[in-house]
């Protein structure tokens, strides 16, 4: 996407940082962008959707485990953002706020789906070809040309998806946001509304539970 003046992407080239991870230029550009959004500028909103749709969809897919649900929920997230952008006070980064809206809507959806018993493991979708359990680190598509390793990779992915889906949503969200989306503890704290200590503790427990669960399912010890 072409960078435009007044867009969030426009500020990325400026290296002057004021506070953690936010440069002066980025801060100002984001403020202008939010003003445009608050004025219900449709083109600004199009830009917002294009900028964040991949991240939001990926998060929702990891949380929900189903592509159709994730796609539908991603649309709903942006509709809610369009409605609520006027209430955004700029206390946090726009991306953090978007994550918070996504996570909250997603957790509501998960509660609804669990009542309907439709979030069973059979509906989890494989995403792509993967590597074996002990070699998952840094393996690329080109490395996994052998069929037996493809099967192992697929099994690992299935096991991970199932085990993540079995985690309590509160644990699942911190695990995905930290370990897959690479958010900071500060951002996690803003998204979940919990103190950083609680976030760390919860993340530690989530990792432990997931590790045990994957080992049990795969019959293999994670090094």
């Amino acid at each position: 996407m072409a960078e435009r003046r007044g867009s969030v992407a426009d500020a990325r080239a400026h290296p002057v940082y004021l506070r953690s991870g936010v440069s002066e230029a980025e801060d100002q550009t984001e403020r202008k962008f939010i003003e445009r959004l608050a004025q219900r500028d449709e083109r600004a909103f199009n830009e917002l959707v294009e900028l964040y749709e991949a991240r939001v969809f990926r998060l929702l897919l990891r949380m929900l485990g189903r592509r159709d649900e994730a796609e539908d929920m991603a649309q709903e997230v942006f509709v809610q953002i369009f409605k609520a952008i006027g209430t955004f006070r700029g206390d946090s980064k726009l991306s953090t706020w978007i994550y918070r809206v996504s996570v909250n809507l997603c957790k509501n959806r998960m509660k609804y789906l669990s009542r309907r018993h439709t979030d069973g493991e059979d509906e989890l979708e494989p995403v792509a070809e993967r590597s074996a359990l002990d070699e998952a680190k840094g393996v690329t598509f080109g490395d996994i040309a052998q069929p037996d390793r493809l099967v192992e990779g697929y099994q690992l992915e299935r096991a991970l998806q199932i085990c993540i889906a079995e985690l309590d949503p509160d644990f699942r969200e911190v695990l995905i946001l930290r370990d897959l989306e690479d958010l900071t503890y500060e951002e996690l704290s803003e998204i979940t509304g919990l103190p950083q200590g609680t976030v760390k503790s919860r993340l530690h427990r989530a990792r432990s539970m997931l590790k045990l669960s994957v080992e049990r399912r795969m019959g293999e010890k994670i090094p």
Partner: protein, 107 residues
């Protein structure tokens, strides 16, 4: 699996690198994300009862095709108009008739 009240401990949540690497290696791919923009615009248009995204020009990812088609249509209309009207265009034919002789009426 629920949280049995261990949350408030200020644990460091030390990174279990092997698990984190495994998660990243196995799951963190650049998933092909669907284009949700059209769906979002449709939902906003419906729920706002046409207040937003109503004109069709602000919808869709890029109105380039719309501009292009409209321009080509206009060019076609101009070409047809020219083809139809061009036979009527030209320099005026000179009047060849001699003026009628003036007859003076005798008194």
């Amino acid at each position: 699996m629920t949280d049995p009240g261990h949350d408030e401990l200020d644990s460091e949540g030390e990174p279990d690198e092997s698990l984190r690497s495994m998660l990243k290696g196995a799951l963190r791919e650049d998933l092909p994300a669907p284009n949700v923009l059209a769906g979002v615009q449709r939902k906003i248009r419906e729920r706002s009862r046409g207040k937003f995204y109503a004109d069709g020009w602000s919808t869709a990812k890029s109105p380039l095709n719309t501009y292009l088609i409209t321009s080509l249509l206009m060019l076609a209309v101009l070409a047809v108009s020219y083809a139809l009207l061009s036979p009527l265009v030209g320099s005026p034919e000179p009047v060849r008739n001699q003026p009628a002789p003036v007859q003076l009426i005798p008194r």
